[in-house]
Structure formats: C-alpha cells, structure tokens
C-alpha cells in the first residue's frame, strides 16, 4: 500500500491495482464492451483490469461519457461483456449475482411507485424467500440505518429526492449484499442533501463492512468518500490512474474537505481527469 501511485500512468498496458486471491472480492480482467449500433460498432470500454478488495470502498471517477455506467452494468451482470471477465468471489459473473445490490442514479424510476417505502425495501427479501419475521427486522434495521424509520407507510413519490434515494439505499442494504454498486446515486439531489448522503454511505459502509464500488463524475465526492479512487480515461475507456486515498478514516465534511492532503489528492485526480478529457491516454492511443 503506497500512498502515491503516479507510476501507473507510464506503463505500456495501464491497469488498476490487482490483489492477491484471498484479499480479492471482485476481479475485473480485460473487460471490453463494444455496442453494435446502426452506425456500426462503438467501443465503449476497451480494456479494464482491476481488483476490489474485501470490505473496500472504491470510487470510480471519469469524464462524462467515459463508460462508467457501462462498466457498472457489466459488473452487475446486467449487460454482457464483449470480452474479458468479471469474477465475484471466484465465480464468473454472467447474470446479476445474488450477493450484489445496485443503487441506480434514477431513484424515482428504480423505486416501485405502487409500493410503500417499507414494501419497496421488503420486496427483494420477499422474493428471496426470507421469512416474514426476519424480513420485518431487516426492513426496520435498514430504514433506521438511513434515518427513514418514521415514514415506512409513505409512498416513495411523496418524499423528497434525497429521501427517495435513502429508500433505495435501504433496499440495497436490507438485501445484505457483499458488494454494493452505486451508479452516480447523488447526481440528481441538491448539494446539502448530497453531503448528508455521502456521510450516510460512509457510516453504512463502516457499520456493515460491505464492499462498495461507487461511480461518480464528481471529483470531490470521489476523494471524500473513497479509500481508493480509480480514474477512467475518455471513451473507449481504459484505466487512467488508480490511487489510494490516505485520508483518516474519520471524515467530516468541514474538516476533511479543508485538509491540505484532501486538496492535494483532489488536485491529482482533477489533473488526471483533465488529461483524460483532453485525450491523453495512458495506452497512447
């Protein structure tokens, strides 16, 4: 674990960090995704390799259009890869794995509007065949964890955007996943709510010990949240850089964001993203 890892951008075949077998929960190897469109094939993701450690909170950041969502959907098993592989706990991902939950950006469309808050959280558990008493307990715990145990009988659309996204997070954590994938979950909420939700994610992560892959286009958010930030190039996507965030584990919006180290890391990520936007590619393409 070295704090500064600027060397990754100089190698011939750029790659994210790889780990030993026992530390790894999620393994991405040479992932490529090519879309077949009416105008011919489009290569969205070219070649991605990285590992995600057990219990890690990693942020994936890249310029808009860098295939972040594509990558996430491939990892979630919602989309087939063109080549390469995604391995969760030693097993190749070919469809949505059982021990994985996804929080989508579009909370309004991802929550079922015909179900009340508690039923939305409960549905995946019910579908998984968990008995009623345990379900009720898990739902209650999850709603408490996100600070929503006072509105279980509301419909999601009666709540504010931030609260709706909390419901979606509660649904994900009640499902007790090993890996939590989050696709720009806070892109559509206001700044204040966003700060609250960021802290919520860190507290949930610490409390549950779940592994989180958090996709965002917000550089500050990635540095503030993550133990590690993986930067993507512009499309066709490769890994631009992969750094550890050596900020203290206890983070607060005010202090952490004003710490000199935060500024340095932020600066580094910002530079890499700017470079990616301008077309600088670690693979020299």
């Amino acid at each position: 674990m070295q704090p500064e890892t600027e060397n990754t951008s100089t190698g011939p075949m750029p790659a994210g960090k790889t780990l030993s077998d026992e530390d790894t929960l999620l393994r991405v190897r040479g992932l490529q995704k090519v879309y077949q469109t009416d105008a011919g094939p489009i290569e969205a993701v070219r070649d991605l390799t990285f590992d995600l450690g057990r219990g890690e909170l990693a942020c994936l950041v890249g310029p808009s259009g860098s295939g972040k969502t594509t990558l996430l959907k491939c990892i979630a098993g919602l989309m087939n890869v063109t080549s390469g592989e995604v391995i969760l706990d030693g097993q190749e991902v070919t469809g949505p794995p059982k021990r994985m939950a996804v929080v989508f950006q579009e909370y309004g469309r991802s929550l079922f509007p015909w179900l009340r808050v508690d039923s939305n959280v409960e549905l995946p558990l019910k579908n998984a065949g968990i008995d009623k008493a345990q379900r009720r307990e898990l739902v209650q715990e999850a709603l408490e964890a996100v600070g929503l145990d006072h509105v279980p009988r509301s419909y999601p659309w009666q709540l504010s955007g931030g609260m709706q996204q909390r419901v979606a997070i509660a649904r994900a954590i009640a499902y007790q996943p090993e890996v939590l994938l989050m696709d720009e979950p806070f892109a559509a909420v206001d700044a204040q709510t966003r700060a609250d939700l960021e802290d919520l994610i860190r507290s949930v992560w610490k409390k549950l010990g779940v592994t989180i892959l958090f996709v965002t286009h917000d550089i500050d958010e990635s540095v503030y949240l993550g133990q590690r930030v993986i930067m993507l190039s512009s499309s066709p996507t490769v890994i631009q850089d992969d750094i550890d965030i050596d900020l203290p584990a206890e983070r607060t919006q005010l202090e952490t964001r004003s710490a000199p180290r935060f500024t340095e890391l932020r600066h580094h990520v910002y530079e890499q993203i700017q470079a990616a936007k301008q077309g600088f590619r670690p693979d020299g393409d």
Partner: protein, 262 residues
C-alpha cells in the same frame, strides 16, 4: 354559514339540476297527454310493478347481468393474460399487432351474427359475444402497458433477482395497471352494448329482448322503465369501476398529482 358551506351547499349542487329537470318534466306532462312521454309518478309505479315486484327481476334482469359479469370477467382475465404473454415477446408482438388492430377497429356488434352461426343462439353465444367484443381494448392496452415499462424498473428487478412469475406479479402487472384499467373502462361500455343488442337481436329473453317487446306492443311506460333499468345498470357499473379504479390505482393518481404540482 359554515353548515351551509359544508353540508347544504354540496347537497344543493348535487340535487338542484336533477330536481329542476324532473320538475320541468312533471309540469310538461301535466299540460300535455303525449303518448310518448309518461308522467313521472306513473313511471315510478310502472318501474316498481314491472321490475321489482314482478318476476322479471329473476327471469330477465339477473340472467342478463350474469352473462354481462361472466363475459366481462373472462375478457379481463384472458385479455391481461394474453397481453402479458404477447407484450413480453417482441417478435410475437410485431407478428400479432396488425391483426389485433383490425379486431379492435371492427365494430363489436357485427360479431353477433358471426357467433350466432358458429355457436348457435344461447347463453354461451351471448357470453362469447361479450368476451370477443371486450377483449381487444384490454388486450391491446396490456400489450402497450408491458411495452412501456421503464427499463430502470426492469434493471432493478433483474439486479435483485426478481424474475419470471415474481417479476410479472411484483413489477410488470402493477406497472401496466394504468393502461390496463383504461382498457377495462372502454370494455365496460362495449359489454353493456353487446349484452343489450345480443338480446334484442337473437334471443327471446333478457333485458334487451323485454324492452323491445314493450316497444313493439306500445307499452310505453314499461318501455321507459326498461330504459331506466339499463341506465341504472350503466351508472352502477360505472360507479363500481370508479371505486375499484381509485383503489387499485391510488398510487398512480397520487404520483400524477405530485408530478403535475411540480
């Protein structure tokens, strides 16, 4: 004042015009002895003696309603089931859509002579007429509803392993419920039309037949009372539907209200 606002005023709004209309009708019948227009009090008496105390309630009205209910129920169940099967498969959908559009555009009453030939006159044929006329709006709206399902919802289902029958039950059916209910609403009025005219056209019992008999024998007050029975059935059906719809789609109306307020 507040009692006026809360109780009297709404009641007044509800009954004022009906009372005015009935009053005008009553005054009209006082001065003229038109053969075609019965006077209100006499019509109520005729209504009671014809439809409530007589045996027509059990002999004609209830059998008609039973056929209506059976036909509608079958059309709803078949329409939704077929709609789900077809809507979930893009190829089958493209294959069947033009044929279904033809059947939807076909005025349903023409099915009566066809089914008379194929099934023969009777209960089965009358139910079949209602089913084959009512199924199209439900079927096509279900297909449309399934097609219009939000892809993010579907990805949510997939990522939580909700698939197959569970997905239909927990995601697809509720998501498609608004267009399905709109289809059912269209089917209600078609069902009533078909119930009445299949009886007028092809049988010797039932509500439609009885009313035509009254007309042919120039039993004018009885004929009017029969029209009133059909009106009451139509209004009752519509209220039942509205009641059910409000419950089933409570979430949908609430959601729309929130969206419109934004």
């Amino acid at each position: 004042m507040s009692i006026f606002n809360r109780v009297i005023s709404p009641v007044l709004a509800l009954v004022a015009l009906p009372i005015l209309l009935i009053g005008a009708w009553w005054i009209y019948t006082l001065n003229s002895t038109s053969f075609f227009v019965p006077e209100p009090v006499g019509l109520v008496e005729t209504f009671i003696s014809t439809w409530i105390t007589g045996e027509r309630l059990t002999a004609d009205v209830l059998p008609s309603l039973r056929r209506l209910g059976m036909g509608l129920a079958l059309a709803i169940v078949l329409g939704i089931l077929l709609g789900l099967l077809i809507g979930l498969n893009r190829t089958v959908r493209a294959l069947t859509e033009p044929v279904f559009e033809f059947f939807r555009a076909l005025p349903p009453p023409v099915l009566i002579p066809v089914l008379m030939l194929l099934i023969g006159v009777g209960n089965t044929m009358q139910v079949a007429v209602i089913v084959s006329g009512c199924i199209w709006p439900i079927l096509l709206n279900t297909i449309e509803g399934v097609r219009g399902i939000d892809p993010v919802q579907s990805e949510t289902s997939r990522s939580y392993g909700i698939s197959g029958f569970s997905r239909v039950r927990y995601q697809i059916l509720p998501a498609a419920a608004p267009p399905i209910m709109a289809g059912v609403r269209q089917s209600l009025s078609i069902a009533l039309i078909l119930m009445v005219i299949s009886e007028m056209f092809a049988t010797s019992s039932g509500l439609g037949f009885t009313i035509v008999q009254f007309q042919r024998s120039f039993a004018i007050p009885e004929m009017w009372s029969g029209i009133a029975v059909l009106g009451i059935i139509g209004v009752t059906l519509s209220f039942i539907f509205q009641f059910v719809e409000r419950r089933v789609l409570r979430w949908y109306h609430g959601l729309k209200e929130v969206e419109n307020a934004a």
